[in-house]
């Protein structure tokens, strides 16, 4: 009984796929299938038309030069060069191959900062050697053509500029990293208020400076990171405000982010040392979830041999 039933079902199934009596494929005749398909082609065509139309209309309302909203991208993230996987810098000072990747990464990044790249005066502007006020460059549109960009001198980075030491201190076990604030259109970082800043920063306080400071991530590592050298514009360990605001890649295609080079000259070898760098500013905030907002942390593991 059950078997007979199953057979019956099989027959129906085959019949369903191709019913030769009624010339039906999957329960419909060719004409019926054609009508159905035609209907869906038209139906989806209309929907796709509506979709593309809506998107086009929406794009018309969006400015080319300035995003409509920035509530997700601001406050900015703080990032480092070399960009490393798992935020870990591990190498052996005596083995050039172990840090070759970092050096190449730094070289590539700093190519745009070389003096010969900043010669065109139509594009570049000398904004002074000390931190100064914001440089407003008018409305966010191309009515006045492209906007000028402040120069950033590679020499300011001294030992980490790669000009004297092409390995950026890696061959001596004194690695350099470059710290930069993520680009955000129209974002004007505000210099920190006086209170609650680490004393080292207070020493070099400037009202037009966004200072950067690196400390051990864990307190027990405090004695293991040794001395930290900062090289920035005019010897200040931070970002000058004249580099802000940023006008976007259409108006400032060759914008140079201000950099701070951080060199760890006396790191303890053969152990993982976690370092956290922060940028300080009134509108630079930190988040528990996003560990790269206004700060980042990086791990050093230098092997002695």
């Amino acid at each position: 009984m059950a078997r007979g039933k199953a057979k019956d079902g099989d027959g129906n199934w085959k019949k369903f796929i191709w019913n030769s009596e009624k010339k039906e494929l999957l329960g419909r005749t060719g004409g019926s299938w054609f009508k159905i398909l035609l209907f869906y082609v038209i139906f989806y065509g209309c929907l796709a038309g509506i979709f593309i139309g809506t998107i086009q209309v929406m794009l018309l309302t969006v400015s080319e030069f300035e995003p409509k909203y920035q509530d997700r991208v601001a406050p900015p993230g703080l990032t480092q060069v070399p960009q490393v996987q798992k935020t870990e810098i591990a190498f052996t000072a005596s083995d050039p191959r172990s840090y070759e990747l970092y050096v190449r990464n730094l070289d590539n990044f700093l190519r745009d900062y070389s003096a010969e790249q900043q010669t065109e005066n139509i594009v570049f502007q000398d904004c002074g050697d000390t931190p100064s006020e914001y440089k407003e460059r008018g409305p966010y549109n191309d009515a006045q053509g492209q906007k000028k960009v402040c120069k950033f001198k590679r020499e300011w980075l001294e030992n980490c500029s790669g000009l004297n030491d092409p390995t950026y201190g890696y061959k001596d076990g004194k690695p350099c990293i470059l710290v930069k604030l993520n680009r955000i259109i129209g974002f004007k970082p505000q210099a920190p208020a006086n209170e609650s800043l680490p004393p080292e920063i207070m020493a070099k306080y400037n009202p037009n400076l966004i200072p950067v400071h690196c400390v051990a991530k864990r307190e027990e590592d405090a004695d293991k990171i040794g001395t930290v050298e900062y090289y920035g514009m005019g010897g200040y360990p931070g970002f000058g405000l004249q580099y802000y605001p940023y006008y976007g890649k259409l108006l400032q295609p060759r914008y140079l982010q201000p950099l701070v080079a951080v060199q760890f000259t006396n790191l303890t070898y053969d152990m993982e040392v976690r370092v956290e760098c922060r940028a300080y500013g009134q509108n630079i905030v930190y988040s528990d979830k996003d560990r790269f907002q206004g700060r980042f942390d990086i791990k050093f593991d230098i092997k002695s041999s």
Binding site: Y40, F43, Y44, L47, I50, F51, T54, I55, M58, L59, V62, F65, E66, P67, K68, Y69, Q70, D71, R72, V73, P76, G77, T79, Q83, V84, Q85, K86, T87, N182, R183, I184, I185, Y246, G248, K249, L250, Y255, S287, K289, D290, R291, F292, Q293, F296
Partner: protein, 961 residues
């Protein structure tokens, strides 16, 4: 199992019995022997059907088809999480959250289902609190009172009027013993018990009394021949538990649906798994895609929706006195195409009532309504005075004392059913019976017995006789003009034609006739000679007794007919109703007790089949008969035959509802697609086997149930269409995510929120939707063709409305992305870099640099935006689902208050999820801008307009769905 039980004890004589049961018919068993047999056979009680243990039932709730799929999905999530953790990749515990959420969903819905089942099991359990029963037993020559559970085979027991028979016993001696077998046979007519074997069948013979039947009067001594589950009633009870649980149609529907869904989910998931692997995703990622598609495809909230819809209807029915034990039964009732009804107590009032009288050569109609509100007859005739006097006096029934304030119809009476009917009739028509009896005190009496078939009472100067139609007519002295009328009824083998005469339904041979004669004063006759005195009597009149139909029945039957439901009457042993008259089962006269005739009703479409005919039928004949006769009455059927009838109906593809009250109905109740037991008259076994209980024993309640059941099927269909639609906008983001490599537009947890939180309320509120047209004028649905989910419904939901919703979601997604700095052109193909956790400076269309978590929050924003788009479109969807043919405005968009409240509530939950602080990190919802709520609204409007056009088309061209 379904074979009739063979017993021959009734044919054995006393000596043989003594040998068979090694006992003594005078002294009984010895205590020691009894104790030994008790050990051997177990206690004399019905074993309750073994329930499934709670943990197994709970386990079953957790191991359904959809649940298994969810388990697999959760396992994949956990594995993915474990592997990521193993790779030292911290901070991405999304997969863990998702696994926990999935497991929680399965467990919570499982608990929900288990709770529902537990509640219904509790109702059943409450039927079992039976009071321990005592029995009088003779052991070692001594009369003892023992617990009935301790009776063993061979015990000698004594029963007397009022006792419940403690086991199946073979009567050895009896004095005027009568038993009420109604719990076994459904027939309330008392049956005499005596030591002689009177019938081949042990069920019909007089020398066997059955376990759990009532002894009404007299005394008897008997030998226990079977105990506990081996008794006839125990056999029936175990027959009921032996009948497998039939799956309810809605369960079949849902299973069918779940199979399709699970199949599609696995198919889709598998396809994309393979595609992802071919494109070059790592195995684990592909596995997570698979899981996400399963989560998006499986309608997690559907089971909850269905359960809630059904329990809402169950509550609504309970208010109308239908208690539903099994939730799914509600819907089954709606798809019922055949109702097999037991007559006694369901269609009828289950009390004998005087229907017609004959005196002065005329038929007079008595009032048979339940509340005595009907018309009375002319009572001025002298014959009536005589007749009423005889009815009053020649009657052994008495009212129980202390009921002066109770309406006559509801008073308790001591005495058998016929005499009670006469007593009540006399009390109502000619005043207090007690006073009349006081005027003519009883001198001597000969009670009714089966040999005389009449009853004689001599009072002061009067002899009154009552008797059945099988009375010896020669006793009438002055039959006179009566004889012509009486002749057809004298012969039990009445030809059909005479039964068809106008008199026949009203005055059947069951009717007691009454005669009287005045005696000279001071006559003193010993009771044995009374039969001789009762000669030359004056015929006073005839009375016909019926069990009248309930007032609501004819109308209810008519309603069933318009609704395309066939009503079949499964009469029990001995009595049955006739289908006929205007209102279908309007007239329910008695069919001759001894008739072996095939009794054709007035309408040729109806037919009576007796149990013996049924037994003689070749297999298949019954189906043929059922197919050709839309209405059918089965007379004198046994429990097994009822079962056969139900099965035959089911084989014809009908969905069968069975109503009944006696133990004899319980196998059929259990076998039926839906068993309906009577709450007042019903026996425990019947209630146990049934899916539904009518608290007021009213057939009309079944019709209400059918109506509600059909409504819930319609509404469930709407609800499912609503639930299905959003599967496409939930699935589409994954397809685009994999194929176009855009950042994920909709997260798994968000999908779970849509399925199990926001969309539950509108889909449940559709259960409150009014019917679009008079559903009781439609035919019952064809379970094979008219499914809960059919092809046009699925195609329309998936490929049209669902696609519009997806477009709405994607428009909103691209708007939210573009306005935050990611233009559509850049978004396509962005996924690998977007999801790179070490990329902290990804450039958007403006050259701004985003950290990973900034992108992640943007992604959550997209989830929320997509979520809101689906919600907005679902509001339009629930509005279009309110009707399937009528325009939304014909139905009234705000008539269903619950639905309006549900929509408002849904929006409130949406707002809460978006704007409650802490949501981003817990459930991945972000506060979104107001205009992103507005973007999908035109699409909602499009859905409304599109569906109105479709409905207009359906109304203009009926039949083209």
């Amino acid at each position: 199992m379904k074979r009739e039980l063979e017993l021959d004890d009734h044919k054995l004589d006393v000596k043989e019995l003594e040998v068979k049961y090694s006992t003594s018919v005078t002294k009984g068993l010895s205590e020691a022997e009894a104790a030994q047999r008790l050990l051997r056979d177990g206690p004399n009680e019905l074993r309750p059907p073994r329930g499934t243990p709670g943990c197994v039932r709970f386990g079953r709730q957790l191991a359904g088809g959809l649940q298994c799929l969810m388990w697999v999905a959760a396992a994949i999530c956990l594995i993915a999480y474990g592997v990521q953790e193993g790779e030292g990749d911290r901070g991405s515990s999304d997969n863990l959250y998702l696994a926990v959420a999935l497991i929680a969903v399965v467990v919570v819905t499982g608990c929900f289902g288990y709770y529902q089942e537990f509640k219904s099991t509790n109702i059943i359990a409450s039927f079992r609190n039976l009071v321990p029963q005592q029995a009088t037993v003779i052991r070692a020559g001594q009369v003892l009172q023992v617990n009935a559970a301790e009776l063993v085979l061979g015990d000698l027991v004594e029963i007397k009027g009022g006792d419940r028979v403690p086991a199946d016993i073979r009567i050895l001696a009896a004095q005027g013993c009568k038993v009420d077998n109604s719990s076994l046979t459904g027939e309330s007519e008392p049956q005499t018990r005596s030591p002689e074997c009177t019938h081949e069948s042990h069920l019909e013979t007089r020398n066997i009394a059955f376990f759990s039947t009532m002894c009404l009067e007299g005394t008897a001594t008997g030998l226990v021949i079977s105990t506990g589950d081996r008794t006839v009633i125990g056999r029936i009870a175990s027959l009921a538990s032996g009948v497998g649980e039939e799956k309810t149609p809605i369960a079949v529907e849902i299973e069918h649906f779940v199979d399709i869904i699970a199949g599609l989910a696995v198919l889709f998931g598998g396809t994309f798994f393979t595609v992802a692997l071919v494109i070059g995703y790592p195995f684990l990622r592909a596995l997570v895609f698979f899981m996400a598609i399963v989560v998006a495809y499986v309608p997690e909230g559907l089971l909850a929706t269905v359960t809630v819809c059904l329990s809402l209807t169950a509550k609504r029915l309970a208010r109308r006195n239908c208690v539903v034990k099994n939730l799914e039964a509600v819907e089954t009732l709606g798809s019922t195409s055949v109702i097999c009804s037991d007559k006694t107590g369901t269609l009828t009032q289950n009390r004998m009532t005087v229907a017609h009288l004959w005196f002065d050569g005329q038929v007079h109609t008595a009032d048979t309504t339940e509340d005595q509100s009907g018309q009375s007859f002319d009572q001025s005739s002298e014959s009536w005075t005589l007749l009423s006097q005889v009815i009053t006096l020649c009657n052994r029934a008495q009212f129980k004392p202390g009921q002066e304030n109770v309406p006559v119809a509801q008073r308790d009476v001591i005495g058998d059913a016929s005499e009670s009917a006469l007593l009540k009739f006399a009390e109502v028509t000619s005043g207090p019976v007690a006073a009349a009896r006081g005027r003519f005190p009883k001198v001597a009496e000969l009670p009714f017995n089966s040999t005389n078939k009449f009853q004689v009472r001599t009072g002061e100067g009067q002899v009154d006789t009552g008797g059945t139609g099988e009375l010896r007519w020669d006793r009438w002295a002055q039959v006179g003009q009566v004889s012509s009328l009486m002749s057809p009824m004298m012969s039990p083998m009445s030809p059909m034609t005479s039964l068809m005469s106008p008199m026949s339904p009203t005055l059947s041979p069951l009717s007691p006739g009454f005669c009287a004669r005045w005696l000279p004063p001071g006559t003193d006759t010993p009771p044995e000679d009374l039969a001789e005195v009762a000669q030359g009597l004056c015929f006073a009149g005839l009375v016909s007794l019926i069990d009248p139909p309930r007032a609501t029945v004819p109308q209810a039957v008519r309603k069933c007919r318009t609704a395309g439901i066939r009503v079949r009457d499964m009469g029990t042993l001995g009595t049955s109703g006739t289908l006929g008259g205007v209102g279908g089962l309007g007239t329910l006269g008695g069919v001759p007790r001894c008739a072996q005739v095939c009794y054709l009703c007035r309408q040729a479409r109806a037919r009576v089949v007796t149990g013996s005919e049924l037994a003689a039928m070749a297999p298949g004949t019954l189906e043929e008969l059922l197919r050709t006769h839309p209405e059918m009455v089965f007379a004198r059927t046994s429990p097994q035959q009822k079962l056969v009838i139900v099965e035959s109906c089911q084989r014809l593809g009908s969905i069968v509802a069975v109503t009944g009250d006696g133990v004899n109905d319980s196998p059929a109740l259990k076998k039926a697609d839906i068993g309906v037991a009577m709450g007042i008259a019903g026996s425990d076994a019947a209630k146990n086997a049934a899916d539904m209980i009518l608290l007021d024993d009213n057939f009309a309640s079944i019709v209400t149930g059918v109506e509600q059941g059909r409504l819930i099927f319609d509404n469930l269909k709407k609800s499912i269409a609503y639930t299905l639609t959003k599967n496409i906008p939930e699935l589409a983001p994954y397809l685009i995510y994999i194929t176009a490599s855009v950042p994920l537009p909709l997260g798994c947890i968000t999908i779970l929120f849509i399925e199990l939180c926001t969309d539950i309320f509108p889909s449940v509120s559709l259960a409150y939707e009014r019917a679009e047209s008079d559903i009781m004028h439609l035919r019952p649905r064809d379970p094979r063709r008219d499914r809960l989910v059919n092809e046009p419904l699925a195609a329309y939901s998936y490929f049209q409305i669902g696609v519009i919703q997806s477009f709405a979601g994607f428009v909103d997604y691209f708007v939210a992305m573009a306005q935050e700095g990611w233009w559509p052109g850049l978004v396509l193909g962005l996924r690998p870099r977007w999801e790179d956790e070490h990329e902290q400076e990804l450039q958007d269309s403006y050259g701004q640099q985003w950290t990973f978590w900034q992108r992640r929050y943007q992604q959550y924003t997209c989830y929320t935006v997509f979520f809101i788009s689906i919600e907005m479109c679902q509001i339009a969807d629930v509005l279009i689902r309110k009707t399937r043919r009528l325009s939304l405005f014909q139905q009234g968009p705000f008539r269903n208050r619950t639905l309006v409240v549900a929509i408002v509530f849904q929006v409130c939950i949406g707002c809460f999820l978006c704007y409650c602080p802490g949501m981003p990190n817990v459930f991945n919802f972000m506060p979104i801008r107001f205009q992103w709520w507005l973007v999908p609204m035109p699409f909602g409007l499009l859905i409304l307009v599109y569906d109105e056009i479709r409905k207009l088309g359906v109304r203009r061209h009926p039949g083209s769905e």
